[in-house]
Structures are given as structure tokens and as C-alpha cells.
């Protein structure tokens, strides 16, 4: 037992806890992130120093010299740096998903590598159990995150992809994994067979990861990303048990627990349960429904008319959604807001907790466009203010402003808290077409008598509006 290393690990764990604590307040969040990064540095440095000074058995064997280790760290750091510098704020959800996957994937590789290195000796019971768990959680995290990444990037359809018996198959695969675990425990004296078992579990778990995420639609992505984040923590915990390392266990558990809480907050915001998101296949039943009933009494308006309405308003509430992110229109939104403020209009932003594709997505985008965060109002705070608002502009939000959620008992989104946009005197909806949102259902808001549709690309329309407002 090397006390210096153990103490460094304790210090790292304390820094992680403090860092996360600070990250829950706007003012101290950056410091918290820095503390956590310092904690990580301490942990890595202590591990390296220990390896350097370790006795021959724990020293670096000839097969992997120091140059390789340093090279690995440098390569990883450069790629990580590039990722973080290159990513656009609209691409944040994808980045979090892919980094998550890498973390989960690394945990699996460590566990497999551990078993392979032990090929000369017999695997103990605890070895088998911990390695299996690590592989299961890590592989699911890895492939699940990759599917989430592909969905968010638009490489595969964002719609739920469900087939008959999907949940049944998932259950069956899970049982196969558990059976393999038991089998591996029985045959663990035959190291070759045990290796095969572990490989089989890796493959099955990887398939499971894909099948768990494919049925989940884009609207539920915030929850999924958050949940996968929790899983990647748990994968680290499992790997900690494999290696008998307390730091991995503590840190992984912190992330796992906090991630599950965050996922739950998301679910509450959608008035659904975690189980429902995981097994619901949101958006299957609705596909029939979206076909029934064409839109009626849709009123269109031109940018000139819309600009007049906005300019003569005392207060305007802007409601951004995923469409704003796709069109990368956050800067255009801010320009319009500034143009209106110049004319003496009071502008605020209404943010639905699950607007976008990741928790807090809209806040990040608008912060990037220099919108002061005092102007970002949360749902509970703003919902009573729509009644007094002269105009509301909906930019690429759909399901989160659909009154069907409060009125229509048969609606799949019934019960989801929405922004009461329809209560504003005039509602201007900027939208490419009357296409449905991710829930695949008709939006009653578009038929309201006080709603005007402004068809076109969000960015272009906002620019036109700004121009018109400036000319008035």
C-alpha cells in the first residue's frame, strides 16, 4: 500500500466532489470545472509517479515502454483538444454523446485487457463477476452513445426505430448476458473458454446498447444523453471493482448518481417516468394520428407584417427550440432582440426544460450569442407572463408549445408541461413547413386564431425581420 498514492486519490475524490458542488451554481461553475480538472491531474500524476517508482513487478514491462504511455496521453489530449475547440455550440449534444461513448469504451477495454493479462493464472469469482459487469455496462454505454451520436448528427433517422418485440428481444439478450455470467463462473478454471465467454458478452452487450437507443425518438434525446452519461460513470465504477481501485469506484458512483438525478429532472419536465422513456418508444402510436386531420384555418403573414406587430408591441417573448439550433440561428435571434430593444420593446426568452436535444441546450446556444442570462426565463417563471405579452415568436420549437398537451387527453404528449405561448396576444411561428415535430403529431397552436405562420428558414426569416424592424 503506497500511502502517497492513496492520499493523492483521496485528494482527487475530494476535488471532484467540491468541483461538482460548485458546478451547480452559475457563479462558481467555472471554478468547479477547474477544480475537477485539477483533481483529474492529481489522479493521473500520482498514478504515473507510482508506476515510475514501483517495484519491478509493477514497473512498466518491456512490451509497453514509457514512450508509448506518454505518446498515448499526448495523442488523446490533442484529439480531445481538437474536439472541444472545433465543436459548434449547436453540435454540443453530439460531442457529449461521443465523449461519453469513449469513456464507456475505455472502461470495457481496461476490463478485457485485465483478463487477457491474467491468462496464466486462474480468474477468481470476483474477477469474473466484476469484469462481466464492467463489460456489460461499458459496452452498452459505448454503442448506445454511438447510436445517439448518429441520431443527433442525422446519420440515421431521429425517429424512433422500433420493431415488434423490441423490448422482448432486449430482455432476452439481457438474460443471455446473465446466463453467460453464470456459465463463465462455472468454467472459469478453463481460461480459454472463459475468454470466449467474455468476448461473447462483449458482443451481445454491444448489440444491446444499439437496441436500447434506436427506439428512442429525438424529443427524448436529452434524457438519453443524460442517462448514458450516468452509465459511463457506472462503467468506471465497475472497472474500479475489477481493479480494486477506490478512486474509480468513488468517482464513477458520483457521476452515476448525479446523472440519474439529472435524467429524472428531465423526465419530470416532460411529465414522464424514466421507465416510460426507456421502454416507451415515444412516437410509435402517433404515426397513425399524424396522418389524420389536415391543418385548417392556417393564417400566414409576411415578414413586413410580422415586423410591424413586433415593433408596436410593448413586450415580446421569444421561444427558441431545436429548429433554431438546426438553422444555427441563435445569433440572428439575438440581433432581432437587440433591434426590438432599440425600439423600446421589452424582450425576454422563454426556455422549456427539454427544448433542444440535450438538457439546457437552448441556454448554451443563446449564451453563445451573447444573450444575457437574466433574459432567459424558465418555464415556471415565464408561463404566467404570456397573458400580458403582446407577441410571442416561436423559432423552431414545436412539441413544447403544443396546447394539445394540456387539452387533448388522447394526445401522446398529454400531461407534458408546455410553454403557454397561445396565451400571448399574437403568436408568430417561424417554421419551414407544417411538418410535425419529433413527437410526430399535429400542433394545435398553428390553428389558433391569434397565430400567424411565417414560413421559411429560421435564420433567413429572422434576418428579414431584423431588417424590417430597423427600417421602421
Amino acid at each position: 500500500m503506497n500511502y502517497i498514492v492513496e492520499f493523492s486519490y483521496l485528494l482527487a475524490a475530494v476535488l471532484f466532489i467540491l468541483g461538482m458542488k460548485l458546478m451547480t451554481h452559475v457563479k462558481s461553475a467555472r471554478k468547479g470545472n477547474l477544480l475537477a480538472a485539477v483533481g483529474m491531474f492529481v489522479a493521473v500524476a500520482a498514478t504515473l509517479i507510482n508506476m515510475k517508482s514501483g517495484d519491478a513487478s509493477a514497473g512498466i514491462p518491456a512490451s509497453i515502454g514509457w514512450p508509448y504511455i506518454i505518446a498515448g496521453i499526448i495523442v488523446g489530449s490533442i484529439i480531445g483538444m481538437l474536439f472541444s475547440k472545433k465543436v459548434k455550440m449547436t453540435g454540443m449534444p453530439e460531442l457529449v454523446a461521443i465523449l461519453n461513448g469513449f469513456g464507456g469504451g475505455a472502461s470495457v477495454l481496461v476490463a478485457i485487457s485485465y483478463v487477457w493479462a491474467k491468462s496464466s493464472s486462474v480468474l477468481s469469482l470476483s474477477d469474473i463477476i466484476t469484469v462481466m459487469l464492467s463489460i456489460l455496462i461499458g459496452s452498452v454505454t459505448f454503442t448506445g452513445s454511438m447510436v445517439a451520436f448518429a441520431k443527433l448528427k442525422g446519420l440515421i433517422a431521429g425517429r424512433p426505430i422500433v420493431f415488434k418485440g423490441n423490448n422482448l428481444l432486449n430482455g432476452a439478450l439481457f438474460i443471455v448476458v446473465l446466463a453467460s455470467l453464470v456459465w463463465a463462473v462455472i468454467i472459469r478454471s478453463d481460461i480459454g473458454a472463459a475468454h470466449m465467454m467474455l468476448l461473447a458478452v462483449t458482443i451481445i452487450s454491444s448489440i444491446l446498447g444499439v437496441l436500447i437507443v434506436t427506439p428512442i425518438g429525438g424529443a427524448d434525446m436529452p434524457v438519453v444523453i443524460s442517462l448514458l452519461n450516468a452509465y459511463s460513470g457506472l462503467a468506471a465504477t465497475a472497472t474500479g471493482f475489477v481493479l480494486g481501485n477506490s478512486l474509480l469506484i468513488i468517482t464513477g458512483s458520483l457521476v452515476g448518481a448525479s446523472g440519474i438525478i439529472l435524467s429524472n429532472i428531465m423526465c419530470k419536465a416532460m411529465n414522464r417516468s424514466l421507465l416510460n422513456v426507456l421502454f416507451g418508444g415515444f412516437g410509435q402510436a402517433q404515426q397513425k394520428e399524424s396522418k389524420e386531420g389536415e391543418y385548417q384555418n392556417i393564417k400566414e403573414c409576411s415578414p413586413e407584417e410580422a415586423a410591424l406587430i413586433l415593433e408596436s408591441a410593448k413586450s415580446v417573448i421569444m421561444v427558441p427550440g431545436y429548429g433554431m439550433a438546426v438553422a444555427q440561428a441563435q445569433h440572428a435571434v439575438q440581433e432581432l432582440a437587440l433591434a426590438l430593444e432599440k425600439k423600446g420593446v421589452n424582450v425576454v426568452f422563454a426556455i422549456h426544460p427539454v427544448a433542444g436535444r440535450m438538457p439546457g441546450h437552448m441556454n448554451v446556444l443563446l449564451a453563445e450569442a451573447d444573450v444575457p442570462y437574466e433574459k432567459l426565463k424558465e418555464m415556471d417563471e415565464i408561463n404566467n407572463e404570456f397573458k400580458q405579452a403582446d407577441a410571442a415568436i416561436v423559432i423552431g420549437a414545436n412539441d413544447v408549445v403544443n396546447p394539445a398537451a394540456t387539452q387533448n387527453k388522447g394526445s401522446p404528449i398529454y400531461g407534458m408541461p408546455i410553454l403557454n405561448v397561445h396565451e400571448a396576444k399574437t403568436v408568430i411561428v417561424i417554421k419551414r413547413s407544417l411538418g410535425a415535430g419529433f413527437a410526430g403529431i399535429k400542433n394545435l397552436l398553428f390553428e389558433y386564431p391569434n397565430t400567424l405562420m411565417l414560413f421559411g428558414d429560421a435564420k433567413e426569416m429572422l434576418k428579414k425581420l431584423t431588417q424590417e424592424v430597423n427600417e421602421l
Binding site: N33, A43, V44, G76, V96, L99, W116, N229, N363, D370
Partner: protein
């Protein structure tokens, strides 16, 4: 069997994790997620620890691969979180 003290540590850490996050403003959901995502890259320590014991080449290759993936997770995660939080610090528009 698994070291029991590790199990104790695990249970207590879960409680701490639950306690840290009780109320958090939505504006911070994304940074908190990417920040804790970076922290889950602690697996980097696991990757380093597994390397010295990796005698067959295959285990060494897996370990190296794990090291690179975990490093990407850690460095990318912390840096992008910082980038986001920097934006929140900026008060007001230009």
C-alpha cells in the same frame, strides 16, 4: 470475494452523488453534464493501472487504446465545459 470496504465506499459515494445535485438551474444542465462526463473519464487511471500487467501484446494494445479513448474523454470534456461556462460568464451583449 470482492473487498468489502470497496463496497462500503461505493454505497457512500452513491449517497454523496445524490446529495450534490439536488437543485440545479436548467441553464447549467449542459455544463454539468459535460463536466461530469469529463470526470467519468477517471477510467484513464484504470487504463494506466492495467498497462503494467498487460503482458501479452493484445492486452497491451487494448490498454493503449483505452488510454487514448479515456484521455480524449477527459481533455475534451473539461475543455468544452470550460468553453461553455466562459460564455455564461460574459455579462450582457456587445
Amino acid at each position: 470475494m470482492i473487498d468489502f470496504y470497496l463496497f462500503i465506499v461505493f454505497v457512500l459515494a452513491i449517497f454523496v452523488g445524490f446529495e450534490i445535485i439536488n437543485k440545479i438551474p436548467p441553464i447549467l444542465h449542459t455544463p454539468l453534464m459535460s463536466g461530469s462526463n469529463a470526470i467519468s473519464g477517471i477510467t484513464i487511471v484504470g487504463a494506466l493501472l492495467s498497462l503494467p500487467y498487460a503482458s501479452p501484446t493484445l492486452a497491451a494494445i487494448l490498454g493503449m487504446f483505452a488510454l487514448i479513448l479515456a484521455t480524449i474523454n477527459v481533455v475534451g470534456g473539461f475543455m468544452v465545459t470550460d468553453r461553455m461556462l466562459k460564455m455564461f460568464e460574459k455579462k450582457g451583449g456587445k
